[in-house]
Amino acid sequence: MKKTSKLLSALAVTTMLAAPASAETFKFAFQGDMPGLDPHSLNETFSLGFWGNIYEGLTQRDGNLALKPALAESWETTSPTTWLVKLRQGVKFHNGNDFNADDVIFTWERTQTEGSDVKARGGLISAIKKIDDYTIELTTAEPQPVLMEEMSFVYIMDKEWAEQNKATEAANIKDANNPGYATNHANGTGPFKVVERKAGVKTVLERSDNHWNKDIATNVTRAEFTPVKEAATRVAALISKQLDLVWPVPVQDWQRLEDADGVRPLAGPEARTIFLGMDQGRDELLYSSVKGKNPFKDIRVRQAFAHAINLDAIKKKIMRGAATPTGLMVAPQINGFSAALNTPYAYDVKKAKALLADAGYADGFSLTMDCPNNRYVNDEKICQAVASMLARIGVKIDLLAQPKAKYFGKVLAQNGYDTSFYLLGWTPGSIDSHNVYQNLLSCQNPDKKMGAFNLGNYCNKRVDEITSLMGSETDPAKRQALIDEGFKLVQDEVGYLPLHQQPLSWGAANNVEVAQRADNILDLRSVVIKK
């Protein structure tokens, strides 16, 4: 440990000497830290985003989430299940090693090792054939139209480096005595390299001199990342100029940032859709006053709920005008979104009451709602608002709002989907609708790994069919038609109650320019510090 820190500081000194005269230090904070530096150890937005400054995939996303080549220069499908990929030449890892086809194959194998949390992404590929050092052929078991989209988060590691340092397997949390070399060290091809890592305290990056892309916008030479847990502390540190950029900023602090000198809130629509789900699978709800039957199996009850919820009021009163009410389960940034279908259910209490009476619940019923209180923007407040809106049509909600560790422990698959009515948010990692179909809209089917996050088991055979057709449909127009058909079905059947896309909420100093990506990732490539 001591040796490495000496080595690191020696490295820091040399790079400091080598840094250009216009050295710009960028200090930023998020509410938590990543689990080390191993880019295959966790499939989670913040960590993937941070590692994306150090490591690169075959592809990458730009500031508008458009897909761009990265370590792959170009690609084409030679059959529905094979892809010919030309790799970029002249790319070097931070330690000076050359990037080539062997590294891609090694990385793919590594994603399938026990500790890896990107098994699903790597697992889309069934074989990789090396044609020459800079040409590979990827084979997939089934047609995968969005394969290259998925590859943007599979970060390529250096084979030689990993072998030298015994890091050929992804860091495995089960191995209590061996955190893994790659947890504390990194060697990627990205524009930034790690010079210091103190878990939970600080991670310092410096600009790499040998990055292949000379066109990236950033002028940052040194980036210091600190996790700052308390929102009030984070905001105070930004306002007092100790930090250049922080996120998330509580929505209620936006005004404070606007009033303060030299800082501003950065708000934009996030690609995350917040929605309510209803248990439509069980014959009797787990938590309700209705016994012997499940009111959510009656479409009129689901419609009544849909018409009772006032999305505009949630937007205005709780989200300070910054949410985008939605009728679809995907955001505009997601491939497959259709503006024509994006009409929310109309707010109409009278109609809702009538529907509920029709269904035989004129006096309403009571129901427990599960809600996280530290996962999404103002999650608990949204649930409280929904509860009071439903009270108007006679549905009495007992709200069970809990911290995310407890909430997810209760409602997810491993606890048997222990919920009757819940709030959840979803961003498809592939930025494609298929991910939403697979996880949220398909019937629960653990054997096929479908519907794993369809907590209420909304189930329509045609939607299942569409999901599998879409997975292998390579013609964009036909694929879009399938996506539209499925969304229309879910909407007509009120399978879910979409609420809104939540706002991104960052705060930055006025002299910091940054592309605020809708997937809530801060890409240092886009950060420019103005004089």
Binding site: M1, V201, T233, G429
Partner: protein
């Protein structure tokens, strides 16, 4: 004396086992750690397998026995959220917490004692009244609020002092210290004041009360009758006799400062054990929580032991009974 210490050590081990047992019982209520350890694409079987391999499915008693056996060897496993051995994490965080706590304790003593003595000797002066009134504020304001207020005034409005983190640290072996750099010292000011305020008011009120008590006793009256000067009376005789309860309380409070620095640490993002614990709760990071709680129990037990020994040294009456046992 040796027998006394030995007996106390045995009791200490029992206390720590009891603490470990109770905390382990509580872990069932912190939520499911596995959800924080994997992403949304991880399948149910993989999650289940992870739970199995981490031993989270084992019965409570088995988990507890395994934890105790490992802890005896100084092994606390790997942090679920930071993926490094907990022992390493504790070693990194301990210096930050100890420096903050000890500086705060010194601050509280150095300011609290003279204020208490003054308040006892000059009972009716306006300064005494000011001390007493403001100490009420110190006792009643929650630490979190004091911290935020200080951040607002000295960090955001005046911009004199840093409001988070530890500044630059210097490594002396594995011990990281912020006491040797300017930014480290500056970073220490606000959190140590925040942490010291409650203790300071407590010590001041305690010293005052004890001192008033002692000043009323016969031996002080006799001393006065013998013609001893005020200075000798107050500082040589009265103060010495007020020290026993003050030592106890200060000693025990040092334990609480270390244990309850977690609020201060999280307000100031101070990278100590308290912050580590709060973050561990959020992530249901059981190995970190378990190790922290056992360590805190150990610190309390150790401080109690030291206080007991000091007692015996300060108070000759205890030496007879305590030494024999």
């Amino acid at each position: 004396m040796l027998g006394f210490i030995f007996k106390r050590l045995l009791q200490s081990i029992l206390v720590m086992l009891a603490v470990a047992f109770i905390t382990f019982g509580l872990f069932r209520f912190v939520g499911d750690p596995v959800n924080n350890m994997v992403g949304q694409d991880t399948t149910l079987e993989e999650r289940e397998e992870l739970r199995e391999q981490l031993g989270l499915n084992d019965p409570f008693v088995v988990q507890f026995a395994r934890f105790t056996a490992n802890a005896m060897r100084g092994e606390f496993g790997q942090s679920y959220s930071l993926r490094i051995p907990v022992s390493e994490l504790l070693r990194e965080r301990l210096p930050a917490t100890l420096e903050l706590s000890i500086i705060s304790a010194i601050l509280a003593l150095v300011l609290g004692m003279p204020m208490g003595i003054y308040a006892a000797i000059r009972r009716d002066s306006w300064l005494t009244k000011l001390f007493l009134t403001s100490s009420l504020v110190g006792v009643s304001l929650p630490t979190f609020l004091i911290g935020i207020l200080l951040i607002l005034i000295f960090g955001v409005m005046l911009r004199w002092l840093p409001t988070f983190g530890r500044g630059e640290v210097v490594y002396l072996g594995w011990w990281s210290t912020g006491l040797l750099t300017v930014s480290g010292l500056k970073a220490l000011i606000l959190p140590s004041i925040t942490l010291a305020i409650f203790q300071m008011t407590l010590i001041m009120r305690l010293v005052r009360a004890e001192m008033l008590e002692v000043l009323r006793t016969d031996f002080i009256k006799f001393g006065r009758a013998r013609g001893l000067g005020n200075r000798a009376l107050h500082f040589r005789h009265a103060l010495k006799n007020t020290l026993i309860p003050v030592i106890t309380i200060t000693g025990l409070q040092l334990g609480s400062i270390i244990a309850f620095s977690l609020i201060t640490e999280s307000v100031f993002q101070w990278p100590g054990m308290g912050l580590m614990f709060i973050q561990a709760i959020g992530n249901a990071d059981i190995p970190v929580m378990a190790a922290y709680l056992v360590l805190i129990a150990f610190i309390f037990v150790a401080i109690n032991l030291i206080v007991d020994i000091l007692y015996v040294r300060v108070d000759p009456r205890l030496r007879v009974s305590g030494g024999k046992k």
